[in-house]
Amino acid sequence: MFDYSCSETLLINWILGQINTHPDAIFPHRKGWKGHLTLFYPTTDGNAYFLMSITNKKETIYFLPVDVSIQETHLKQFQLEKILKFIKQKNQVITSHSQVILITCEQEKKKIEELLIKNRIQAELLVLYSDKIKFQQGCFNNEVLNYRLSKLTVDPDLIAQTIPDNFQKARNNKTNILFYQNLFHVLNKYWIQNQNNILLETVISQSILYWKQYKKKQQKEIVERVQNALLQDLSSELSGIIRMISHKKKSESHPVFVIQFILDAKDKKNITTWVKKQNRALGLIRHKSLQITPDIYSIISNQETDNL
């Protein structure tokens, strides 16, 4: 048996799934619970973490998803006082009762526990398993929430993808595929509306829900990554469908990329072509994960040599 593993986005999506109208939700709308998603910058190095605040105006629970890639300096900032200070800076409301809960998955729980002990951090730790979710350390301060949590059944394969992945931290191809699926979805709207000359940055900003919370530098990095992917990796698949042209407002200004549609959306045949091309482009991203990168190849080669 393998320990259950998942990304921080999936953990946030699980929390979001608990703020709804469903009768067995932990944070039901009928009790006035609402959720705010923000990016938390623990230090000035530009690394951002999801911070999900769930509040009913009397109490607030701050959820922070963590995995083993977290830096210890960052983890030390995941404390109630620091978070409240951050929240104050953002002009968000602070309630009289609040609690910080770290959330992780089964595979990462031991390492996170060790990190917490090592750094002497007293924190509640909630763990998502393949069939349950339970506190590894601590509990909710509100007993009603503990009761609702104990009644939950969990199937992580069915957690709704309410928010897209943190593209800044995209470590696997699934994040990439979902991002590009979203990006093409935004492009489809413009295409059907017969709009042309769309700024690439506009399309990206509409594909990422919390885009405005990224710092300028991060936004620029993401735009460059997508721009390179569209111009290089996906260019063969998207040729004849869209073209990207570089545009400068003034001769001295930084160039921006503009997307133009070549095919006419009114022609029904073009719809099939466009859908096929998009699927092929997504397939290309999907199959990239199957290719052996030089690093992995060298490990496999070494192992084979050892076995010999």
Partner: protein, 366 residues
């Protein structure tokens, strides 16, 4: 005074019917005096929202004229719009009143010969500005309570062999004395597949007119008092209005970006649809919903995001409205991001009820 009293007055004013005629049943005779009402979702483009109420309605009607060639004249108060069609001899063949008081639902009343009324209605429903409201089986049932009894009904359910290994088909129509019993039996025995798309019955006012209600939000009757007809119209309106209000309040994924607080707020959740019979070929269902072909006219992309879950992004080809779905074998989540996607939700609900079998979680949608 009911919500439809001004509508009643406006129709009376247009057609020129005197109260006496209305009361002694001679108002409506079988030839050429048919009533038709169509409930439709009307979508005011977001760029019109900053205009005054009157201008919004006016521009909406101009857009409708551009698309269909049908020119409705807006009243001075901006609440109703009027259309009259005359033949070569100058005789009025269709008289129509469009009630624009509700921000989402337009109620269009036609009076005249049934065939041209239906033709005009059909051409209006081709427009991207108006989409026929979907009345699901429970909505139709709620309306049927206002009739003196069910006289006939039509049902339609057809699964595809591309999606199910052993597809089920249950479609047909029934009329006559057996209808009441058959209806009760079908409801009990085949609750998941018994999908009513049309029913008809007599009104309770003794006029002997037969009213027919369609799943696509259309009500027709030949002989009836206008006042009795509007009582049923009001009932349908209330069913639809409650449904759309509930969706707008609870299910529009209005992530509110707050620049000042630098956060996004979620105060809604996706529509959750339970499937009584597990879908066997999820990829084929995803393909059906994204291939861009008739009758759905939806294009998009699908991706398997976990062993059990498929994510589908779809765009409506005529209106460019968008919706996201997450499909697993026994559950479908529908993410609606703006009120302009309501017609798409109707389209998806219609498809699921006709071709998959689905029960929507909320009472308002059941």
């Amino acid at each position: 005074m009911s919500f439809f009293s001004p509508f009643y007055d406006r129709i009376q004013e247009l057609i020129g019917v005197k109260q006496n005629f209305e009361e002694d049943f001679s108002f409506l005779q079988p030839s050429g005096n048919d009533h038709l009402v169509q409930f439709s979702l009307r979508m005011i483009p977001s760029e019109y929202l900053e205009l005054s109420q009157y201008d919004q309605q006016h521009f909406f009607l101009l857009d409708l004229l551009e698309e269909t060639g049908v020119e409705y004249q807006l009243d001075a108060n901006g609440e109703f719009a009027i259309f009259t069609e005359k033949n070569k001899k100058g005789i009025k063949t269709i008289q129509s009143v469009m009630d624009l008081r509700n921000e989402s639902i337009a109620v269009i009343y036609y009076f005249g010969v049934a065939k041209p009324c239906l033709q005009l209605n059909s051409s209006l429903m081709q427009s991207t500005k108006l989409t026929a409201c979907y009345l699901n089986p429970s909505g139709l049932m709620a309306v049927s309570e206002s009739l003196s009894g069910i006289r006939s009904f039509q049902y339609y359910f057809e699964q595809s062999s591309l999606i199910f290994k052993e597809p089920i088909v249950m479609k047909g129509s029934l009329k006559g004395a057996i209808v009441q019993d058959a209806y009760q039996n079908y409801c009990k025995q085949f609750s998941s597949w018994f999908n009513i798309i049309q029913l008809s019955g007599h009104t309770t006012d003794g006029s002997q007119g037969v009213m027919t209600i369609d799943a696509n939000g259309k009500l027709q009757i030949d002989i009836c008092r206008l006042s009795s007809f509007l009582i049923i119209v009001e009932k349908v309106f209330s069913v639809l209005n409650d449904k759309y209000r509930f969706i707008l309040d609870k299910h529009i994924n209005n992530w509110i970006g707050d620049q000042h607080k630098k956060s996004v707020t979620v105060c809604s959740c996706p529509v959750q649809v339970q499937l009584p019979y597990a879908i066997e070929f999820l990829e084929n269902l995803s393909k059906t919903l994204t291939v861009g072909k008739k009758p759905l006219n939806l294009m998009g992309l699908y991706e398997r995001i976990s062993p059990k879950l498929w994510k589908i992004f779809i765009t409506e080809l005529n209106t460019a409205n968008q919706i996201d779905l997450e499909i697993s074998s026994q559950q479908i989540l529908i993410f609606i991001h703006c009120k302009w996607s309501l017609p798409m939700l109707d389209k998806i609900e219609n498809f699921l009820r006709n071709n998959i079998a689905a029960s929507f979680e909320s009472l308002s949608l059941n």
